[in-house]
C-alpha cells in the first residue's frame, strides 16, 4: 500500500509553523441548504493538503471561498497571511486557482492563453514570452501551442489550465478536483506535476473524491462530509482511526483448512470459501508468527493476502456510507 509522499507532521514542534491557509468556523449556506457548517483549517506553508469528500460535500465551495470567488457567511480565513474578507486582492496576488471546470479561453490558442496570463500579471513582454514558452514546454504543450485551446484533449486542457495558474509564480495553489475525468496516464502526469510544485516550496490545496489521490499526494487530509470536517490527519493517522487490518488465508483442501483453523487462534472462518481471517497489523513479526504456526501444523495455504485498512475504509467509516462488497486487498 503506498503511503504519503512526504509526511510533515506538525506534531512535536510545539508551535505551529506559519500557515499558508488558516480558517476558523467557515460557514456558507445557499438559502436553507447549508453547504459548509463551520470548517477549521490550518495548512502549513509548503505542504500538500487534500480535502476529501463525496460529491456535494462542500469541497468546491470551500475552494471558492478561500480563493475569494465567493464570500463566506460566517467565520474567518487567512490565505498567505491576508484576510479573505478584508484584503481579497492581496490574497489574489498570492494564489493560483485551477477550478473543477476548465478555466482556459477555448477560442484562442494555448500560447495566447499563456501570454494573456503574463499580461494580466504585468510581466514585461519579453519575460512573459519566456515564461509562457517555458511552461508550455514543461507541460508538453509546445507542439499544440498554436492550436485553439478548445481543440485540446481533456488532459491537455488541464495541463494548460495549471500552466496558466503558474504564470504569476503563486505561492499557494488551489486545485479543485485536478484529475476528475482524466485517464490514468494523464492522472499520473498530474500527480507528477503536483509533486514538482511541492518540491519548489509551493503550498498545494487540492480537493479530490479519490482516496488514492489524497493518499498519494497529501501530507494532511481532511475528510469533508455534509459540510463538516469528519476527520483530519495524515493518511497513516486516518488509517489508524479504524480497525480492519487482517491476514486472509485461503485453502483448496478442506482438510488443510481445518488443521489450519485448529492451529491458529482467534480466526474468523469462512467455511464456504475455505478461508480464514486473522486480525493483524500486517507487520513482519506477526506474519512470521502466523507462517510459523502453519509450518508446525504442516499445512500450506494456497493463498495469503494482507489487508491493511486503506482510506476507503476510513472514508466509508467516517462518512457513514456502506463499504462496497468487494474487499480491497493487497497481495504480498
Amino acid at each position: 500500500m503506498p503511503t504519503s509522499v512526504m509526511p510533515t507532521s506538525i506534531r512535536g514542534g510545539g508551535q505551529l509553523p506559519p500557515a499558508a491557509v488558516s480558517a476558523v468556523g467557515l460557514r456558507k449556506a445557499y438559502g436553507d441548504h447549508t453547504v459548509l457548517d463551520g470548517i477549521d483549517l490550518h495548512i502549513p506553508a509548503g505542504s500538500v493538503f487534500a480535502l476529501l469528500g463525496p460529491n456535494g460535500a462542500g469541497k468546491t465551495t470551500a475552494v471558492k471561498i478561500l480563493s475569494t470567488l465567493i464570500t463566506a457567511d460566517g467565520g474567518q480565513a487567512q490565505v498567505a497571511g491576508h484576510s479573505i474578507a478584508t484584503s481579497p486582492d492581496s490574497v489574489r496576488a498570492a494564489i493560483g486557482v485551477t477550478g473543477q471546470f476548465s478555466a482556459v479561453d477555448g477560442l484562442i490558442t494555448g500560447e495566447e492563453n499563456m501570454l494573456l496570463m503574463a499580461d494580466l500579471h504585468h510581466l514585461p513582454r519579453r519575460e512573459g514570452r519566456r515564461v509562457a514558452a517555458e511552461l508550455l514546454e514543461r507541460f508538453g504543450l509546445t507542439d499544440a501551442a498554436r492550436k485553439p485551446a478548445q481543440s485540446y484533449s481533456g488532459g491537455m486542457k488541464r495541463r494548460l489550465d495549471i500552466a496558466m495558474t503558474l504564470v504569476g509564480g503563486p505561492r499557494i495553489i488551489f486545485l479543485d478536483e485536478p484529475t476528475t475525468g482524466l485517464d490514468p496516464r494523464s492522472r499520473h502526469t498530474m500527480w507528477q506535476i503536483i509533486r514538482e510544485l511541492v518540491a519548489v516550496g509551493v503550498t498545494v490545496f487540492l480537493t479530490t473524491q479519490y482516496l488514492e489521490e489524497a493518499d498519494q499526494l497529501a501530507d494532511r487530509i481532511a475528510v469533508l462530509d455534509g459540510g463538516r470536517i469528519a476527520a483530519e490527519g495524515t493518511a497513516e493517522e486516518l488509517k489508524r482511526l479504524i480497525p480492519g487490518g487482517h491476514v486472509r488465508l485461503r485453502f483448496s483442501d478442506p482438510a488443510a483448512y481445518r488443521s489450519a483453523a485448529a492451529a491458529l487462534r482467534g480466526t474468523t472462518r469462512d467455511e464456504e470459501a475455505l478461508a480464514l481471517r486473522i486480525p493483524s497489523d500486517g507487520s513482519q513479526h506477526e506474519l512470521y508468527a502466523i507462517l510459523g504456526r502453519l509450518d508446525s501444523a504442516g499445512v500450506e495455504a494456497d493463498e495469503l493476502t494482507v489487508h491493511t485498512p486503506d482510506l476507503d475504509d476510513v472514508f466509508f467509516a467516517l462518512t457513514g456510507a456502506t463499504v462496497p462488497d468487494q474487499p480491497k486487498e493487497t497481495a504480498r
Binding site: V104, D105, I108
Partner: protein, 263 residues
C-alpha cells in the same frame, strides 16, 4: 502601480483578447452587418419610390430618400452590432476563464471594459462599411464641414458606447446566448419606431411622443443635421443626454451585475 494605470493596462489586455476573438470568429459580426445593409438596399430599391413620396411631399425621388434613410441606418448598424456584444458577453460568462479572472488581482471591470471598447471599435468599422455601401448607391453629404464630420463621428462613437454598455448588461443577465440575443432585439427594432425610415410627423398622433423621445430619433435627427444640413434644434442635446444617461446606467448595471459573486 497606481489603480488607474492598472485599470488601463488590464483593460487593454482584455481588449486584445476580445479583438482576437472577433478576428478568429468574424461570422457573428458579419451576420449582424447584413441586417442594416439588406434594409438599406430594401428601402432604397424596393420601397424607395413609395417612401420618398411621403417625405418629399411630391413625386417619387429615390435619391432624396437615400439621403433621408442613411443616417438612421448608420445608427441602426450600431444597434445591430451591439446585439452581437450581448451574445458574446453572455457566451463569455459561461467560460471558465471568467472565474479565473475573478481569482486574479486584476482590475475587475477590465473584463467588461475590454468587451465595450472592442465592441465600439467593431461598431465604428461596421458603420464605415455600411457608409461605404451607402456612398456606392448614391448617398452624398451636402456641404458638411470638417467640424461637422468630426461631430458626426463623435456622435456615432458616443451612441455606440451607450448602447454597448446596455448590451453588456443584457448579456450579463442572460443565462445563454439565445436569451441574450432575444433580450437585445429591441436595440434593432427601436430604429423602426423612430424617424429613421419615415418622419415622426407622418405617424399616428398618439405614437409621436414615443417615436420622438426614444434615443434613436434625436440621434438620427442630429446626424441628419450634421451631414445634410437639416434642422437639429433640441435634438443635439437630447441625443447627448440620452447617450450619457444610457452609458452611465449601463455601466453601473453591468459592473454591479459582474461584481456580484458567482454561485
Amino acid at each position: 502601480m497606481s489603480s488607474l494605470s492598472l485599470a488601463v493596462r488590464d483593460s487593454s489586455t482584455m481588449l486584445r483578447r476580445n479583438l482576437l476573438h472577433a478576428r478568429r470568429y468574424p461570422s457573428l459580426t458579419l451576420n449582424l452587418l447584413l441586417t442594416p445593409i439588406v434594409l438599406l438596399l430594401l428601402f432604397v430599391y424596393i420601397f424607395g419610390d413609395a417612401m420618398s413620396s411621403v417625405i418629399g411631399g411630391g413625386g417619387p425621388d429615390r435619391s432624396a430618400y437615400i439621403a433621408y434613410v442613411v443616417p438612421g441606418l448608420l445608427l441602426m448598424t450600431i444597434g445591430s452590432t451591439v446585439v452581437g456584444t450581448a451574445v458574446s458577453v453572455s457566451n463569455d460568462m459561461t467560460e471558465g476563464i471568467i472565474a479565473r479572472f475573478r481569482t486574479m488581482a486584476i482590475h475587475r471591470p477590465s473584463v467588461l471594459v475590454g468587451h465595450v471598447v472592442g465592441s465600439v471599435l467593431q461598431s465604428v468599422m461596421s458603420v464605415v462599411l455600411v457608409g461605404v455601401v451607402a456612398v456606392a448607391i448614391g448617398f452624398r453629404s451636402t456641404d458638411a464641414t470638417a467640424l461637422e464630420w468630426l461631430a458626426a463621428f463623435g456622435l456615432l462613437v458616443l451612441f455606440a458606447t451607450a448602447l454597448t454598455w446596455i448590451a453588456v448588461g443584457m448579456g450579463l443577465v442572460s443565462p445563454n446566448a439565445e436569451a441574450a440575443s432575444n433580450n437585445a432585439t429591441p436595440l434593432i427594432l427601436l430604429p423602426l419606431l423612430s424617424s429613421a425610415f419615415t418622419p415622426v410627423d407622418s405617424m399616428p398622433g398618439w405614437f409621436r411622443p414615443i417615436a420622438e423621445y426614444q434615443p434613436f430619433t434625436p440621434a438620427i435627427e442630429t446626424l441628419r443635421g450634421l451631414l445634410l444640413g437639416t434642422e437639429i434644434g433640441h435634438s443635439g442635446w437630447l441625443a447627448v443626454a440620452w447617450c450619457v444617461g444610457l452609458a452611465v446606467v449601463g455601466y453601473l448595471w453591468s459592473t454591479a451585475k459582474f461584481g456580484r459573486e458567482a454561485k
